[in-house]
């Protein structure tokens, strides 16, 4: 394990911000921390919990320009718009990096690959910062993650006494860290990794057991208080629904320019399933909440591999009417236990 002092880290970050686009946790006031582009290390906060928003927007922007259409008289020209340059997301929490695994499986690995996502992903380096503890509402350890999980990062920094223990994970990470100044641990100080306080593990029903609970009344009861405000999906690191829109960009006597934008969308919205003829196959709020959760714990793992939840806890924090994924997970597990008991009785 390599070691870096805090001063070495800031020096290195100052150097990086000169060469590359660096995104890092930034205190935007009133105690709110967001992943934001920074131009030097003084803009970065090193003392933060879970940023209010995930880092999703840097791979799947809330509004992304996909194509530009330029119309002159009857002539139309179409241009693909490509992504910006290389970017480093510094200080990303392991759960937010884990979120990219879900997005990768769908946008990059499932044919046909999404050109914009794949390109941006290729040009992104993730330097994570381990959480010194699990925060309120976090349950990453229940869905295959951990506060110090390096697996989905290019490199991981773990806060230790006097600085950071540095773990490189990929070649990308190693190359990037080659420009940093490391210390050998020689002064006998304790640089061992701290024990991280953990939250309780919540039971998560395995993907194949979810279909048995689809028709439970529970979902409609849960949905009754949903406001269809879509917050839970926008702040989620893995929710990926999108819409496409053509927006006017410029217009003149001889030239009209539009761009086709990809924008975030949300399956909790009332008309999400309304088709051209007006028919809506998911009119009830409970049906839509159910869809969101089934997407995460049954459809997504079944269709693409990874779970669609990384346990960041943000949807619990943000929901104005307190719809709680942890409570939902416990309830579904309880329903399964009841089912198991019933089945055991039938066998007797």
């Amino acid at each position: 394990m390599m070691f870096m002092t805090h001063d070495d880290l800031t020096t290195w970050l100052d150097h990086l911000t000169k060469e590359l686009k660096v995104i890092a946790p930034r205190d935007v006031g009133k105690g709110h921390v967001l992943y934001r582009p920074v131009t030097n290390s003084s803009e970065i906060t090193f003392d933060y919990t879970r940023p209010d928003l995930s880092a999703k927007e840097f791979l799947l922007p809330h509004t992304e320009r996909l194509m530009r259409f330029e119309k002159r008289a009857d002539q139309l020209e179409m241009h693909d718009l490509s992504c910006e340059a290389e970017q480093i997301i510094f200080g990303i929490r392991p759960c937010d990096a884990h979120g990219f695994v879900a997005l990768d499986a769908l946008f990059r690995d499932q044919e046909p690959a999404d050109a914009h996502y794949s390109q941006r992903r290729e040009m992104t380096i993730l330097v994570g910062m381990a959480c010194p503890q699990m925060w309120e509402g976090c349950f990453c350890t229940s869905v295959g993650g951990a506060p110090d999980d390096p697996s989905h990062l290019d490199a991981l920094l773990i806060p230790v006494d006097g600085g950071y223990a540095v773990q490189t994970v990929t070649d990308k990470g190693e190359k990037l860290l080659a420009s940093a100044d490391f210390k050998e641990v020689t002064d006998g100080q304790d640089r061992t990794l701290p024990e991280i306080p953990m939250n309780e593990i919540v039971p998560v029903l395995p993907p194949e057991q979810w279909p048995g609970h689809f028709d439970e009344d529970y979902w409609m009861r849960l949905g009754e208080r949903c406001l269809s405000c879509k917050l839970c999906t926008f702040i989620c690191p893995t929710c990926r629904c999108f819409d496409l829109r053509d927006e006017p960009i410029a217009s003149g006597a001889n030239l009209v320019v539009h761009e086709r934008m990809r924008v975030w969308d949300a399956c909790t919205a009332p008309n999400y399933r309304t088709i051209a003829g007006g028919h809506n196959s998911r009119p009830l709020k409970g049906q839509r909440i159910r869809n969101r959760y089934y997407c995460k714990f049954h459809y997504y793992p079944q269709d693409f591999g990874p779970l669609g939840c990384v346990g960041c806890g943000r949807c619990v924090e943000v929901c104005p009417v307190n719809i709680d994924i942890l409570e939902m997970l416990s309830t579904v597990s309880a329903m399964q236990r009841e089912l198991d008991v019933l089945e055991a009785e039938v066998e007797l």
Partner: protein, 284 residues
């Protein structure tokens, strides 16, 4: 990103080569693709597949392709102008020669080879029946390889019946019957029946023996047609349907079209009714 077609969201450029009025607020758009990659992509699309049509600046929307490659290079789409539909309104305001975009062909298709030799009953309702036209054209152009063809076609009123220009040629083809019905028959309209498609279906009473049905229309129609077909002795495996889904990408990414764990855009739009009946989440 280059312009070589590696961006799956990029449409092929086409121009509007023909516009025909099909019915009230429904037009047939004939599109000529402008370059070799687009033409190659649409060289051998199949009945039942769909594509997104772009009205540049307004947006794109998915439509079943109503042409077949065997009848020429023009791609045809029957498009209903929805009062609040930005894209369909923009498409309806286009003129001949205007540029349009086409992205596809997408989705699966009717198993036209597997159903050779069988009697085929196609059941269409309103604009939703548009994807049946390539099925009919395919059978008519290869008539001896298919059994009897019974076409049951419904609309709210006669002015909403589509492809009326072709009815005479359908009727004139051997072993081919056309039955029409409308919800409300104007006094001067003698071409067909009055009443629901299910009533027409039960009156015509096709035999399930060595037969296959193909139903396209609104979800509620698909549901009731299946009930009538069951009465006539058809099994769910003998029924093919297309499902309409709200779609934004057509390639399994945007999440819009899921019904439980399937995506209508890539797992469909063509399904056996037995699959649809077994879906976790109802299409109704």
């Amino acid at each position: 990103m280059s312009n070589d077609g590696t961006n799956p969201m990029r449409p092929y450029l086409g121009v509007l080569a023909g516009i025909k009025e099909l019915a009230a607020d429904i037009r047939l758009f004939q599109i000529e693709l402008q370059n070799a990659t687009g033409k190659a992509a649409f060289a051998d699309y199949m009945p039942g597949q769909f594509a997104f049509v772009s009205a540049f600046g307004a947006g794109e929307a998915p439509f079943g392709i109503t042409s077949i490659p065997g009848r020429g290079e023009l791609l045809e789409f029957a498009i209903h102008r929805h009062p609040h539909g930005k894209t369909t309104n923009a498409l309806h305001s286009l003129k001949l020669g205007d540029p349009v975009g086409v992205r596809g062909p997408l989705g699966n298709w009717f198993p036209m080879d597997e159903i050779k030799g069988k009697d085929i009953i196609v059941i269409g309702g309103g604009i939703g029946g548009a994807p049946l036209r390539p099925v009919i054209s395919t059978i008519l152009d290869d008539r001896e390889n298919y059994g009897g063809l019974t076409i049951l076609w419904a609309a709210r009123n006669p002015s909403l019946l589509i492809f009326t220009e072709e009815y005479d040629s359908w009727r004139a083809t051997p072993r081919t019957d056309l039955h029409l019905t409308v919800d409300q028959r104007p006094p001067d309209w003698r071409e067909g029946n009055e009443g629901l498609i299910t009533t027409l279906l039960e009156n015509v009473g096709p035999s399930p023996k060595n037969a296959i049905t193909i139903t396209c229309g609104p979800p509620i129609m698909i549901h009731f047609v299946a009930l009538s077909l069951r009465k006539l002795g058809f099994t769910l495996d003998q029924m093919l349907v297309t499902l309409e889904g709200r779609m934004h990408c057509g390639i399994g990414k945007c999440g819009r079209c899921n019904l439980g764990d399937i995506f209508v855009c890539v797992d469909g739009p063509v399904f056996h009714h037995s699959q649809v009946a077994g879906l976790m989440e109802s299409f109704l």
